[in-house]
Structures are given as C-alpha cells and as structure tokens.
C-alpha cells in the first residue's frame, strides 16, 4: 500500500507541482487548502507525512504542527515545513513545534524529494 502524503498549502501552483512530483515517486497524495482542512484530513486520512505551509488561512502551519504533536497516536506522522519565511527565529520555532524538517521556499525539487524519501521511503 502506497505511503500517504498530505500537501497543506494555499498556493495552488505549488500544490500542483508537489502533487506531480510525489505521485511520480509513488506516493498517494492528499491536498488541503488551509490549516483547518489540513487537520481534518490528518484525522480522517491518517497520512504518513505532511508537507506543511506556514502562511495558511484559518490556521497557521505552526498551529497545525502543534496539534499533530499533541496527539500521541499521531506521533509517527512526519512533518516537513515549507515556508517562504526563512529567518532563523522562524526555522527554530518550526522545529520547536515538532517539525522533522524545515524547508525554505523556493526549494530545489530534487533535494526536497530526496529528503522526503529519506524520511518516508515510498
């Protein structure tokens, strides 16, 4: 059974690109357009990894990450934060919230895919 990855981002073009890449690598892809939707999808679909944008409507990526980490039964879910905010304070905050990886936009798609595969072999 294919590993499930949730893409939570409000930028449709970025979602399109990531979806294309992840499907090509053999993952099952889920999509959420805001923080609320992301949490609901995690609840209902139990992805193995979440690609989480920080600047999202309704709930920020930080908050979503924090909620995920509050649930012991979700402890196995890997969280990769994607953000245009690249300052140290923001990276530290993301890691403190329990992210496994913090990737600054714009990113190299190849490197991102290698890291995702490292965290979650397809």
């Amino acid at each position: 059974m294919a590993k499930k990855i949730l893409i939570a981002d409000d930028e449709p073009n970025i979602v399109t690109a990531l979806e294309f890449l992840l499907q090509r690598s053999g993952y099952e892809v889920l999509i959420a357009r805001d923080g609320d939707e992301a949490l609901k999808t995690v609840e209902s679909a139990r992805p193995d990894l979440v690609l989480l944008d920080i600047m999202m409507p309704v709930r920020s990526g930080y908050e979503v990450c924090k909620r995920i980490r509050e649930r012991p039964d979700w402890a196995h879910i890997k969280v990769v934060m994607l953000s245009a905010k690249g300052r140290d304070a923001e990276v530290n905050k993301g890691m403190a919230m329990g992210a496994d990886l913090y990737v600054t936009k714009p990113f190299s798609t190849r490197e991102l895919m290698e890291k995702v595969k490292g965290l979650l072999p397809p």
Binding site: N13, A17, L18, P57, A84, K85, R87
Partner: protein, 911 residues
Amino acid sequence: MLQGPVVILAAFAYLGVLFAIAYYADQRADAGRPVIANPYVYSLSLAVYATAWTFYGSVGRAASDGIGFLPIYIGPTLMIALWWVVMRKILRISKQNRITSLADFIASRYGKSALLGGIVTVIAVIGILPYISLQLKAVSASYLILVQYPEVVMPPVLGEASVRQDPALWVALLLAAFTIAFGTRHLDAAEHHQGMVAAIAFESLVKLLAFLAVGIFVTFGLYNGFGDLFARAAAVPKLKAMMTPLEGVAGGYASWVWLTILSMMAIMFLPRQFQVTVVENLDERHLNKAIWLFPVYMLAINVFVLPIAFGGLLHFPEGGVDADTFVLTLPMVEKQEGLALLVFIGGLSAATGMVIVETIALSTMVCNDLVMPVLLRMRSLALNEKPDLTGLLLGIRRGAIVLILLLGYLYFKLAGEAYALVSIGLISFAAVAQFAPVVLGGIFWKGGTRKGALCGLLAGFAVWSYTLLLPALARSGWLPIGLLEQGPFGIALLKPLALFGLSGLDQITHAMIWSMLANIGGYVGVSLVATPSVEEHRQASLFVDVFRQGGEAGGARFWRGTASVPELHSLLARFLGAAAADEAFEEYARSRGRRWRRDPLDADAELVHYVEVKLAGAIGAASARVMVASVVKEEAMTIDEVRTILDEASQVVVYSHRLEQKSRELEAATAELRAANERLKELDRLKDDFVSTVTHELRTPLTSIRAFTQILLEHPQVDAEQRSKFLGIITKETERLTRLINQVLDLSKIESGKAEWRESVLDLRELIGDAVTGMSQVFEERNIKVDVEVPAKVAPVRADVDRIIQVMLNLLSNAAKFCEPGRGRVRVALRDDGGALRVEVRDNGPGIDPSDQGVIFDKFRQVGDTLTGKPHGSGLGLHISRQIVEHFGGRMWVESRVGEGACFAFTLPHG
C-alpha cells in the same frame, strides 16, 4: 604664743607650701604630665568661689539673718545644673577661639570689638575692687584679732592706723608679689596657669578642712551635737526667730530670689570663675564631674555655718564681738591655739585663692583688652616693629596686678568700714551680673550686636554705680550723705536707694531690678535696630552655632586676602617669643603633613586664622585682629558675601531646588526620547514587517517558477498537455512577480513623495469608459456582465489620467476576481455629489466581513475566500489606489455586507 612673728611665719610657711605646689605642677605641665588634668582638681579649683567672705562672712550673715546666707550657695548649685547647656557651649567657643578672659569673650563675640573689651575690663575692675578689698579686710582683721590671743579684742578702726603700719597694705603688697610670681612667670599662648590651678585646688581643701574643724569643734566640742546646740539656741527667743525659713531675711521673698539669681550669675561671670572654669579648663569632659562635685563642696562648707553662728551668739550674748569673726574668736576664747591658727590659715587660703585668681584674670583683661589695644594703635610707639614683645606683655600684667591690689586697698580704706563682708561681696556680684545679658544673649541669640552690647553694659553699669557704688562712698563719708537721704539736688525721685520712688526693697534687689532693666533693655532694644557689621555677623554665627561647626578652621572660611608666611611667623614670634612661634608653626605644618622650614607652607586663610587664634591666646581677640590685619592684605568681604556663606543651608535648598528642576527637565527629555524611540522602533518593526512580507510575496511565485522549471528540466518525458500547463503557470507567476515588483516600487515612490504626478483636467465619464473597455476581455473570459451608469454630463476634475485609470483597473479587476463565478455581475456608477464626483464599483461576490473592512486598504492585507482559497494579487493594489485618490483630495471606502457583494467607492473633488 601666737605673737605677730609666729603668725607671720606660719602665713609665709603656708604661702611657701602653695608656691612649691604651683612650681611642681608647672614643672609637670612643662614635662607634658599635668597634675591638674583630672576632674577632681578641676572641681576643687572651681571652689575658689568660696572666699574669705564665705569663710568668715557666712557666719556673720547667719548670725543676723539666720538661713539668709543660703541664696549665695543655692544660686551656684542651681546654675551648675544648667552648665551642661550653658557652660559647655562657652567652653567650646572659648577653646575654638582661644578666649583668654571674660572681656575677650565678650569682645570676640561682638565683632572682636576692642572698645567693648575695654569697657568690660573697666566694669570688671571697678566691680571687683570691693571684693578684693573684702579679702584684704578679712586677712588683716583676722591677723589683728589673732595676735591679741588669748584676749578677744576687736581690731581698732582701721582708718586710724598709719598707712605704714596698716597690715592690710602689707597683705595687699604681699599678695601682689605672690600673684606675680604665680601668674606671670611666663607667657602662655593658651593662658594656662597649671601651677596656679594646682595651688588653688589645694587651698580649697585647706579652707574646707579648717572650716569643718571649727564646725566640729563648736558642734561636738562646745556642745553635744546639732540637737543640743539647736535646742539651746531655740531657748533664746531672738535666735528662735532665725530658724524660720525666710523670716529672717531682709526684704523677704524678693530678696531671696534676687540673691539667688545674683549668685547664679556670679558663679559664671566673676572673672576668677571664668578663669578657672573656662580659661584653665583642660578637658571639656571634666565639666561632667564638676556638675555634681561642686555642689557637694558647697554643701560641705555650709553645713556648720548655722551651728557656728548660734554657738557664737550663745557665747557672746552681750555683743562686742563681730559675728564675722566667730569662726576665729570661738576657738580663741576656748584657748584652742592650734585650731585658731588653722582657722587663720584657712581664712588666708580662702582670701589668697580669690585674690590670686581674680587679679590674674583682671590683669589679663587689663593687658589684652585695655592696654595693648591702645598701645598697638599708637603709631608713635611703633610696637609693630619691635621683634619681641613678650617682655612688654609680662610687664603690663605685673603692673596691672600691683595696681589692682592697691586699688582694692584704696577701696578698703575708703569704704571698707561701712559694710559687713557680705554686703561688700554682693556689690561685686551685682557688678558682674551686668555681663550676663551680653554673654548669654551672645551665645544663644545671633541678633545681639556690638552696639546693643555697648548700650546694655554701659546702662547697666551706670545704674549699678549710681545705686550701689555711690551709696557705699556716701556712707563712708566721701560723698555728702544728703545725696542718699534727699536725692541729688534734692530731687527725691533720683534717690540712689529708692530710684523713681521704688522703695521698700533691700539695696541689692533695688539695684538689680533697675540695672537689669536698663541693661537688658539697652542690649535687646539697640540690637534690634542696629545693623551688624560683617565681622559681627560672622562672630555671632561662630559663637551661636559652635556645635554645628567643625574644628578651629571654622573661622577661616570667612577670610579672604593675601599674606606671607615669614611675616606671620615674625608676628607670632613678637608676642609669643621665637621658640613658641617655631613650635606653633611646626605644629601647624605637622597637621598638614609637612615639615616647618623644609616644606613650603601656603599662607592661606587657614594659616592666617591659625596665627590669629594663637595670637589671641596671648593678647586677646581684638588686639590679635589688629595685629594680623597689619601684616596681611585683606580683601573686605561685603555683608552680602558673609550672609551668603552663612546661609549655606538656604543655598543648599536653592541648589537642590535647581537640581530637582533639572531632574524634572531630564525626565521630560527622557520621556520624549523614549517616545521617539518607540516611534522609531514601531517604524522599524513596520519596515521589518514590510520587508518580511514583500520577501514572502516574492518567494511564493519564485517557488512555483523554480519548481516547474526544475520539473520540466528533469522530467523530459512529461506529456505536451502537462508541459503547456506548467509553462502557463510559469508565465503567470512571472507576471505576478513583475506586477508585485512594480507595485512595491510604485508604493515606495508614492510614500517617499517621489512619485511623478501629471495633473490635467479629466472627464471621468470618458475615463471610466476607457477602463471598462480595457478590462472587457477579462470580464468576457469569466462571463461577467458589466453595467455602467454615467450621467449625460459631469463636472471636470483635475488629476493624473494614468493614475486614475490605475485605480479604476484595480477596482474592476478586484470586482472580477471576487464575482460569483459564472454569474458575475459588476456595476459601475458615476454621480455628482455636489462638490465632488463619486465613482462606485459594485460586485455580487461573497462580500466583506465588517471586521475586515477597516484593514482592507492596509498594505498586504488580502481578504481571501476560504472556499476559493487565496486570491491572486500582491495585497498592495487597494492601498496604492487609496493613496492616489487621497493625493487628489478625494477619499475611498468600501460598503459591504456578507453575502451581498461589495461596493468600492471613491470621490474626486471638482476641478
């Protein structure tokens, strides 16, 4: 056995012992191991208060007035209880200012006034003469009685003896020689006579022992104790009356009160008391013990006064024996040779003690405050040029001692017979009481001035002379007795013993009331109206605030001028001798951590003050002032300057007030800075936010562009449809990036005021038409229906065509973006509001929540639709549009309800 030669030999032997004690004490003092540096010797030396008057006269007074003799001893006992307040202050002042006598003290207090010092000296000398004559009378009378032993015969009337055979004269000359030997062997800068003090303390013991011996002999030898003696006395009606308190006193209560007050003043202001209490004091702490030891002495020497008086009266009931001589005649009549001789020696010690100290004190005053100031002012003598004046100073003092004793003798010859011992003493007490107002006022009241002191003293002394001295001379037959009985020129109101009709009082009370009235009235009254000089101001401050000022340098801060060290040194050497001057300068240099004659000394205010104080110790404050002024160039300080220094306290207040003001100003400045800083921080934060937001907005399209470019590059097998879709996205994101960059630049131009505005007259109908036409393709693509409502004719406006088109395109594209997909409807309306044209762009989208309506025009505030996700746009469009509208004097706002679309509107004023 007790013939003349034996008595004389005993007297000389006693004086020899005194001299030996004095010599020994002086030697010890020179060796730096003083014998008098303890409170017991100090207290005993204070007992110089008990003179021959006490020794013989108390019994005399008790024999006539019963316990009426007591006020003379109650006064000092009361006064000494106040010494902690009064005498401690006088002591401190005197030590800091090197006061050498009472005259010096008063002169120094009132601006170092030589005139005042001279007047005090004259008053003291004249006032004390009766007292000295009293001692001469006592010694010579006791001698004449004793040599008649075993007969008890009163001496012949003294006036009848030829002067050469008069023992009083010989006593006077002998005491003069003795005093000279005691008191003027050398000149001391501090006027300490340690040998004399030791001898006086010894004399106090001798007279006490002698008196106690007589008392015990009478009480327990002649009678069986106090009870027996008093019982027998009570059996005699005349004596019984004396045992009732106050009954026996002439003048009753008033007399008691005044006598007590008088003796309270006497213990402080008799020159000899000032000498032993203040000038000879080595340690202020000795006062503590003296405050209770002295009253004990007073009690001891008075215990047997009444028993001896009653014993005498019982023994000599027929009279014929002067009660003043009971102390001596009782042992004589009982054939107690040894005791009689002891009594004579005791009386001698009481008299010599008084005479020695009194004449030394008076001679110091005469020299320092009367003669020297005059001599120093006489330019013809050129004393300033003499290298050594110590010999002259000692000569003047010796002369003064002889003169004072001879004057005392003269008074004795003139008036001595007219009064009993006690009355003579009281005349002197009344004279020195005249010093009380100026001294006590001087140490507690800064307002007392030189003129006030002069007036008070002169007025008091004049009244004293008129009411006490003049009657004494009249009664002795030297002035017509009619002066007393009818008043001068027959004017009864001016009768010396009943001035202005005040009668019914005893002589002393009468004199005290009038003299004190004149004295205090003159002192206070004139002080209140007289303006004090600079010098008076500063001396008043130094005296009254003595406990608040530190050390001897206190006086230096008021001095300003120039001096030279060698001149100051030679000045000191002239009056103290070269050795003492060297010593003084060495001491000064040491206190500054330097060596005299090796390290240079600064002739500054402190050194000048030091020299003046040293000099004052030898020649008095007033003369020292004159001498120092002769070698230094002083700059006069104005009264204002001195006041300024004196008012340090108020200066501090002003200063702290200024400080407070400054601190308030600083606080205000700090608050302003803090506010400015807050604004800067806020701006900085806004800038940071802006940069951060712009960066974020730039990175987002860049992320898409990079991702798709990389996908196309790394996945060549992507099919054509997907490829063209990806390329389309890349193009769109590139456009978005370009638009964003343009808008940021545009905004920065507008905000920094660097934007170019080309104003022209516009027809908004035309402009709206062009804008809608420009957007028609977008509307068609999204199937949006556009309605435009414009009036047939509108007023022109003045604005930049391109900028207003930009605003319209922004509003139209926003409307297109948010329209209900598929059934979009946009209505554009133009209206004239009267004064301004109003443009509305209305859509039928989801509407804007009221909470978002306020922030929608802020930078980077995009209000998205949760359903459709984030709208495309930089978030700068509306912000820039509003800036443009406002630039041309219009305004822009939004009206909307959720679910009912939004209406953006703006106005532009008529051109």
